[in-house]
Symmetry: C2
Subunit: 111 residues, 2 copies
């Protein structure tokens, strides 16, 4: 019997399942320490919506926030992604095999 329990990897995959949150992570990859308002600027989001996304990312351990005066700096914390990637790696040989088969099929086909 498998019992449901929201684990770290559940929260990671769930946090990544939203394009706005992935966009935030991509920006933080290139520009660490952006403020919340700098992150919000290109997004069609009001502050409460933005904070909700940042809370999901923070709960998943994917970002950290540091307050300095009136500014909150946000930093990427990619550790949990390593576990998600390890999980996906179990399947890598399957899609590699599929691509190899497809390549063999294409090569064997008459033009």
């Amino acid at each position: 019997m498998v019992k449901y329990q929201a684990s770290a990897i559940d929260r990671t995959f769930s946090a990544l399942a939203d394009p706005t949150r992935r966009h935030i992570l991509l920006r933080l990859k290139d520009e660490p320490g952006l403020s919340v308002s700098e992150l919000a600027r290109p997004l069609a989001l009001k502050l409460p919506g933005m904070m909700k996304h940042l809370d999901v990312l923070s709960d998943a351990g994917l970002i950290t926030r540091a307050k300095s005066g009136r500014t909150v700096a946000v930093t990427l914390s990619p550790g949990p992604m390593a576990e998600a990637m390890e999980w996906l790696r179990h399947y890598e040989r399957f899609w590699t095999v599929s691509i190899d088969r497809l390549a063999a099929f294409v090569e064997a086909s008459p033009e």
Copy 2:
């Protein structure tokens, strides 16, 4: 402005964010073509709950179902995971750097 649109990668990450669905995928990796009832057996799930999970996996393109008489055989279709893995790969150098730093710190610390 980033506009919300439920894309293939959203559905993939969302499908993977549940332990029951990951359990189903892990079983199908080792035992391709299991029937729905064989998949349901070790899970504390009634058929409607099971079908709901299979629908999510199918909508994400992670499984295919083939009906033969009264039996539905389920097969893994790992292609969408390749895209998810590609996305995560952008961050790989970050956690590698973190692990290297941690290792350097541990090695430099007195016992």
